[in-house]
């Protein structure tokens, strides 16, 4: 679904969520590359269609640039690229999911928003410990939904290296 439909679906889901049982949590799922990912609906601030961003010099590939969102300047992270895939070929059909982590707002570039999932914590499987890669820690678990594995994103770990550790960077820049 595109940005507008996604917003409508989110609103409906939130309304529906009030009636569902209290232990069920809601997640927004979206597609990036061939995979499905999801984040807690609480951290989602806004969903908007892709617009051109202003690129930043000498940053990792997955930092696509910055965007003006009603006067705030937000970085846009290419999710597929951040997780080891190639750069997303953007089109106006692409979607930016704006999430909030620790008072900071970041946009995730994804292909499309898929669904609103309502599920309880027990249904989320832990990440298998087979992978030695540091990357595996950016997932907090998996949810199997109709034969599809949805990876739950751990936002602080996903964004940590650029967005949240900036205090450290500021210090090194100060000299």
């Amino acid at each position: 679904m595109n940005a507008e439909e996604a917003v409508l679906a989110t609103v409906e889901a939130i309304a529906a969520g009030r009636e569902t049982s209290s232990d069920a949590k809601q997640y927004v799922s979206f597609a990036a590359g061939d995979e499905q990912y999801a984040v807690d609906i609480i951290s989602v601030r806004e969903i908007k269609g892709w617009t051109d961003v202003t690129s930043l010099p000498n940053q990792p590939d997955h930092v696509r640039g910055v965007l003006n969102l009603r006067g705030a300047v937000l970085p846009i992270i290419d999710l597929q690229c951040r997780l080891g895939g190639g750069l997303t070929e953007t089109s106006p059909r692409h979607v930016i999911v704006i999430v909030a982590v620790d008072d900071r707002q970041v946009g995730l570039l994804v292909d499309a928003v898929s669904d609103i999932l309502s599920t309880s914590d027990e249904r989320i499987q832990p990440v298998p410990e087979t992978s030695g890669r540091e990357d595996a820690r950016v997932f907090s678990g998996f949810l199997t939904e109709e034969d599809q594995m949805v990876a739950m994103l751990d936002l602080p770990r996903l964004l940590g290296s650029e967005v949240l550790d900036s205090a450290l960077h500021e210090q090194t820049e100060l000299q």
Binding site: L56, Q59, N68, V73, Q105, E134, E173
Partner: protein
């Protein structure tokens, strides 16, 4: 924060102002007679602090403020004259008061005995301090003698009721002082039909006996002073006057008391005309107006494609709107502006203390205190300016003996001035001391490994060396200007504010430090440039000139950089396309490049190579760090009229980057593959 805490906070904020006010005048006190208006201010400051402190039960503060207030009261009413040494003591007493307030603010008990010495002296002044004048003697008798009986003629105006003052409460306060009898004068009371409910018709003759002193009585009426006719006389000197009606005030007052109305008639103009607003609220307004300006520019942008000559009226209306939006923005910005006085007035004291410590006689001259600057800048300027003034006094000015030997007046002069110029504010700190000795400065810089011994520097370049980190060495740190920081910290603080600091010095004549600062941190005058299809904002303040060098004059350097000559100077060129890691996607480079000559913090000039200049624009600065991190070569971001974010270039950062080995891989996240991180970003 609950209400009580908030009141407390307000009290401490006010205390700061009041203490400052006290100190301002205290610095001008001299033995003998003084300016009565100033003395009144001092008295009121202490009185207000005492009143507030009482409400919060800061007992030590109240006690001390009370004695100080009494002394100030006598001085202002001419019943006590300051003798030699007293003005200095009053300044010290102000310090003690400040310490007590500071302790109360931190919620800790002030050091035991902190105020004892000053308190003792205040009490001694009160006990013995009388003026030889006969008239004062008479009053003094009334003050301290047992005959503390007063006759008070109290005739409230309508304004007193309008400020919600209540005569009955005043009477209650008087009861607490001594034996009280009150006579109400109802002769002015008109017929009921003609009576204005909010007029003050009733007056009172009050006799109060056994009061400790006159000041106590005056204090009761302190807050209605000016809103009533009030005479207070010692009872003995007044003949008993006939009473017409004797009533208990409890009965009379409610009847006579008009309802305090918010009607704007009457002389209620004594109220303060300023309000206190939380800075956060103002900032929200500034942000909102900033967004309004952007939104409006975007609307104009999109409309300008549609309208043509037939829509002159609509265009005019739009232009009108633009103008008003700008005015609104300026107006909101102006709310954040404050006169520099708040900052400058700290310095007379610092100079006074320091001149005593250093054994140098110093006169501080202030100029341009009314100049207005953004509040944030004022706050951030305090430390650098203090440091510079200390520096001037410690290192700049000579000892009195040296000055005499040099044929200068014994008293040194430190001058602090401010003025607006070209949309920036210039603050100068100058002294008439020994000035910088270029040779010494150079040798020291060589000694500390800052420059090569064979480097050829001109006078300005040598003087700029004192701003280098590591110039100020441990050996010369005194407890006055040392504190382990040097001029490099000053420079860094000023740069953080988007300003620059320069020094000009003539040996033997003194030095002048000039700070050039933006008026506000919220907007910036920028030059929009384009390179390889990207647009950037260059701070206008950094731009010296723009040149269009012929390709043949550009020379390559062994390290891969390029230089061009400009009036005999070799200017290093920074290719923005390269620094920003842009790719031209097959687009041809422009035939002739433009070099924007900019000045770095060291006064060094470099040329930014760009494709095109797009024009000058005022932009609203947005932090990149709010949601991301700092990026080398980028000072911040700005949102332009088209709603797009543009990067504001950090000239010094770019110069530093260009000076380094270009092979160093760009800094990236853990996942970034270095070989990929160099391309593709400009898509």
């Amino acid at each position: 924060m609950n209400d009580f805490e908030q009141f407390k906070q307000t009290f401490f904020d006010e205390c700061e102002e009041l203490l400052q006010q006290f100190e301002d005048v205290a610095g001008t006190l001299k033995a003998g007679s003084n300016d009565p208006a100033g003395l009144d201010d001092m008295f009121r400051s202490v009185h207000s602090i005492k009143a507030g402190a009482g409400a919060f039960k800061f007992d030590r503060l109240v006690k001390f403020a009370h004695e100080l207030e009494n002394v100030m009261d006598r001085v202002r009413s001419g019943r006590m004259e300051l003798s030699e040494g007293d003005p200095e003591f009053i300044i010290e007493a102000g310090d003690v008061l400040q310490d007590l307030v500071a302790a109360a603010r931190r919620g800790v008990e002030a050091a035991a005995g902190l105020e004892d010495e000053a308190l003792g002296r205040l009490q001694a002044m009160l006990a013995g301090g009388s003026v030889d004048a006969v008239a004062a003697d008479v009053e003094n008798v009334c003050d301290k003698g047992g005959a503390g009986d007063f006759r008070i003629d109290f005739r409230p105006h309508r304004a007193m009721y309008e400020t919600a003052n209540e005569p009955q409460l005043l009477f209650h306060a008087l009861v607490a002082l001594g034996e009280l009898s009150v006579v109400a004068d109802l002769t002015k009371l008109p017929d009921l039909a003609k009576m204005q409910p909010d007029e003050g018709y009733v007056s009172w003759q009050i006799e109060v006996r056994g009061v400790p002193d006159r000041a106590a009585v005056e204090e009761v009426f302190e807050f209605v002073d000016g809103d009533c006719d009030l005479t207070i006389e010692p009872l003995s000197s007044v003949a008993a006057s006939p009473a017409e009606v004797v009533v208990e005030p409890e009965v009379e007052a409610p009847d006579a008391k008009p309802v305090a109305k918010a009607e704007n008639s009457g002389p209620a103009g004594v109220q303060s005309t300023s309000i206190r607003v939380e800075l956060e609220r103002v900032d929200q307004l500034v942000d909102m107006v900033g967004e309004l300006v952007i939104a409006q520019a975007m609307a104009l942008d999109s409309l300008s494609e549609l309208v043509d000559i037939r829509h002159v009226k609509q265009l005019q209306a739009l232009e009108d709107l633009t103008m008003r939006t700008r005015q609104l923005q300026e107006g909101v910005m102006a709310v954040r502006m404050q006169p520099l006085k708040a900052l400058f007035q700290r310095f007379p004291r610092i100079v006074r203390d320091l001149s005593r410590k250093l054994g140098k006689s110093v006169r501080l001259e202030l100029d341009g205190e009314a100049t207005e600057v953004d509040k944030t800048i004022i706050e951030e300027l305090s430390d650098p300016l203090t440091h510079m003034i200390r520096n001037c006094m410690d290192h700049g000015l000579e000892t009195p003996e040296e000055r005499q030997a040099a044929g200068k007046p014994e008293q040194g002069v430190v001058r602090l001035s401010a003025e607006h110029r070209n949309g920036r504010i210039l603050i100068r700190v100058s002294d008439d001391g020994r000035g910088l000795n270029p040779e010494k400065v150079f040798n020291k810089a060589v000694e500390n490994g800052l420059v090569d011994a064979d480097a050829e520097l001109n006078k300005e370049e040598i003087e700029a060396l004192i701003f280098m980190p590591g110039f100020s060495t441990a050996a010369e740190i005194s407890d006055v200007s040392g504190r382990g920081v040097g001029m490099d910290v000053v420079r860094r603080n000023i740069q953080k504010l988007g300003g620059r600091v320069t020094v000009e010095s003539n040996e033997g004549e003194g030095s002048t430090f000039t700070l050039a600062l933006p008026l506000t941190l919220a907007v910036l005058d920028g030059m929009l440039v384009s390179v390889a299809g990207e647009r950037y904002v260059v701070p206008l303040s950094a731009i010296v000139e723009t040149v269009c060098p012929d390709a043949s004059v550009i020379r390559a350097l062994p390290d891969g950089g390029t230089v061009m000559p400009l009036r005999g100077e070799a200017i290093r060129l920074i290719d923005l396309c390269q620094s920003m890691n842009l790719s031209r996607h097959g687009q041809a480079e422009p035939l002739r490049k433009l070099a924007v000559i900019v000045e770095t913090e060291f006064g060094r000039r470099v040329g930014l190579v760009v494709d095109e200049l797009l024009g000058q624009q005022q932009v609203v600065i947005k932090s990149l760090e709010a949601n991301y991190r700092r990026i080398e070569g980028v000072a911040g971001t700005a949102i332009l009229g088209d709603g797009r974010v543009r990067l504001i270039l950090d000239i010094d950062g770019l110069a530093a980057m260009a000076g380094r080995n270009p092979d160093i891989s760009p800094k990236g996240g853990e996942i970034a593959k270095p070989e990929e991180a160099t391309g593709g970003l400009s898509a």
